[in-house]
């Protein structure tokens, strides 16, 4: 799965290879639009009423990253992430770009690492929870860089980490049925 090539097809390629490439491009595009919508929609969910920690999110866009990692390849997941972050910042303002990029990249790297082994060591739940925790670490790291102060890391991050373990579960639960039904793209 991870051995897929990522190069445009040439005229000498078999017609099936061309169509595979196009299918993949289309899939990436659909996933980008899905991720953008999820990023915006999750801001409407009043999670703060449930868990009183300021600034927390469900991380629904992580479903897309998870799916891309399991069913496409690392490059697809990375590309989708970057495009999603840029597009989202057009809707939600530029201030969020640094955070979503930092957090998203951390989550992507950790999840790509844990995903290796095809479920022998980690289930989707474990990968998702680790991703959520990594996402929070990345975001707080970005905030610490911007504020030039480390106190958020000790005062705020511990709570975010625990919240990440919680929010990682519904994210994985949402990704699981999709992964089950869409075995091949």
């Amino acid at each position: 799965m991870s051995g897929r090539t990522f190069r445009p097809p040439s005229v000498t390629d078999h017609p099936h290879a061309v169509s595979a490439y196009v299918r993949r491009l289309v899939a990436d595009g659909i996933l980008v639009s899905l991720a953008v919508v999820l990023s915006i929609v999750e801001r409407w969910i009043p999670l703060n009423f449930l868990i009183p920690v300021p600034g927390i999110k469900l991380g629904l866009a992580n479903i897309v990253t998870l799916f891309a990692l399991y069913r496409l390849a690392f490059v697809d997941a990375a590309a989708i992430l970057v495009v999603r972050c840029v597009l989202t910042s057009l809707f939600l303002g530029p201030a969020s770009l640094v955070f979503s990029l930092f957090g998203g990249t951390c989550a992507l790297l950790v999840m790509a690492l844990l995903r290796r082994g095809d479920g022998r060591a980690f289930s989707v739940y474990g990968v998702s929870m680790a991703g959520a925790a990594a996402h929070n670490i990345g975001q707080v790291a970005a905030a610490c860089l911007i504020l030039q102060d480390l106190s958020l890391a000790t005062s705020y991050l511990p709570m975010l980490l625990l919240v990440g373990l919680l929010t990682g579960i519904p994210t994985a639960a949402a990704a699981v049925p999709v992964l089950r039904r869409l075995k091949k793209i």
Partner: protein, 372 residues
């Protein structure tokens, strides 16, 4: 154990995990909002010193309730150990002294226990802190009072007077009858003086009372006899900070005074004997209240010695003993007693301490209030 379980059981595990995490979050949230406040109550009138109770309580009225208990207990104990006044209906230390060479006196259990403990530890520690030294201490007190009233009349007690007094200081002639609950001074002219041990013993008893009453996070401070109960209930610190005062600084309870070092403790007592508490000057020489039973003169090895030990009564006894012992002998003695530590403060404020306590000291060992 395999992890291949049906989906339902997996879900159950996750729900349990989620609940646990939520509980963790709730716990940290609650912890941040602990509503314990630190209160202080100070009073004079017992043991010739300022006594203060510092403790964490949920309200002023709750703390007032405890501090009242503490103050009343201090007053009761002060009457029992008093050697200067008699009280109707109470046979106290003065009653015992008044009956020296006459008759055994049935005394309250606290007095009996303190005298027994002091005799017991006198034997264990080479006989430096003697509660039967009353006659000698009385001589020094007379000259100190004279000097404090009129500094031009300050003088050292004549050797003959001290030596005469010392002939009535045999601790083996203090007879404690456990069964009858009596104390008898066998010889006329003998005087018990509990000054070196009563304060610490009282702090121990009051601390235990307060703990039983429900004040589980407090300090009972009887003029520097510090008895610590529990850990600070502020939800933040693990240990209380005890400042070691500069012997040359003004003695006051002001905690903002600059300290030589800070010792971080919990469930421990910390008792100091120093030459700066009760003394007088003859010319440029300082004469403090801690008298060596052999030379009959004040000891001059250190400015102060502090002892850390769970029981404040023992710590008080030992701080006097160590003040009267040369450093090497004192250190060997402390190291032979499990759970005991000491800090010696020399002239010029250099400090030596037993190895174990170093880690709890801010400057000497990098200790902090967050240590477990």
């Amino acid at each position: 154990m395999t992890f291949q379980q049906p989906l339902r059981r997996t879900a159950a595990v996750f729900v349990a995990l989620a609940t646990l995490l939520a509980a963790c979050l709730g716990f940290t949230g609650c912890n941040a909002g602990v509503d314990y406040t630190k209160y202080t109550y100070q009073f004079y009138g017992t043991f010739d010193t300022l006594v203060q109770i510092v403790g964490y309580a949920r309200s002023q009225s709750e703390f007032d309730y405890y501090s009242k208990i503490g103050e009343q207990r201090f007053q009761a104990l002060n009457r029992i150990f008093d050697i200067y006044s008699t009280y109707t209906g109470l046979d106290n230390a003065k009653t015992v002294n008044d009956n020296a060479g006459i008759a055994p006196v049935k005394v309250p259990a606290e007095l009996l226990a303190l005298v027994k403990q002091s005799i017991d530890w006198y034997g264990k520690t080479g006989g430096k802190c003697n509660i039967a030294m009353g006659p000698v201490i009385a001589v020094w007190k007379k000259y100190r009072d004279l000097a404090l009233a009129d500094a031009t009349k300050a003088q050292v007690p004549p050797t003959a007077e001290l030596q005469e007094a010392a002939t009535h200081c045999d601790l083996s002639k203090v007879i404690v009858d456990d069964a009858a609950g009596t104390i008898y001074l066998e010889e006329k002219g003998m005087v018990l003086d509990l000054g070196a041990v009563a304060k610490g013993y009282a702090c121990e008893l009051v601390a235990q009372d307060l703990q039983k009453a429900g004040l589980v996070s407090c300090i009972v401070d009887g003029g520097g006899n510090i008895r610590i109960v529990g850990r600070p209930a502020d939800g933040i610190r693990q240990r209380w900070g005890v400042g070691i005062q500069d012997p040359n600084a003004d003695t006051s309870s002001d905690s903002s005074a600059v300290s030589l070092d800070i010792v971080f403790l919990h469930d421990e007592s910390f008792v100091t004997s120093g030459d700066y508490e009760r003394y007088y000057m003859v010319g440029t020489t300082r004469y403090c209240h801690l008298i060596d039973p052999v030379t009959l003169m004040p000891a001059r090895y250190f400015r102060a010695v502090a002892v850390s030990y769970p029981d404040s009564g023992i710590a008080d006894f030992m701080s006097t003993t160590l003040f009267l012992l040369p450093y090497d002998e004192g250190r060997a003695l402390v190291e032979s007693i499990p759970g005991m530590d000491a800090i010696w403060i020399f002239d010029g404020n250099t400090m030596k301490m037993t190895d174990n306590i170093k880690q709890y000291m801010k400057t000497a060992g990098g200790g902090s209030s967050s240590m477990p």
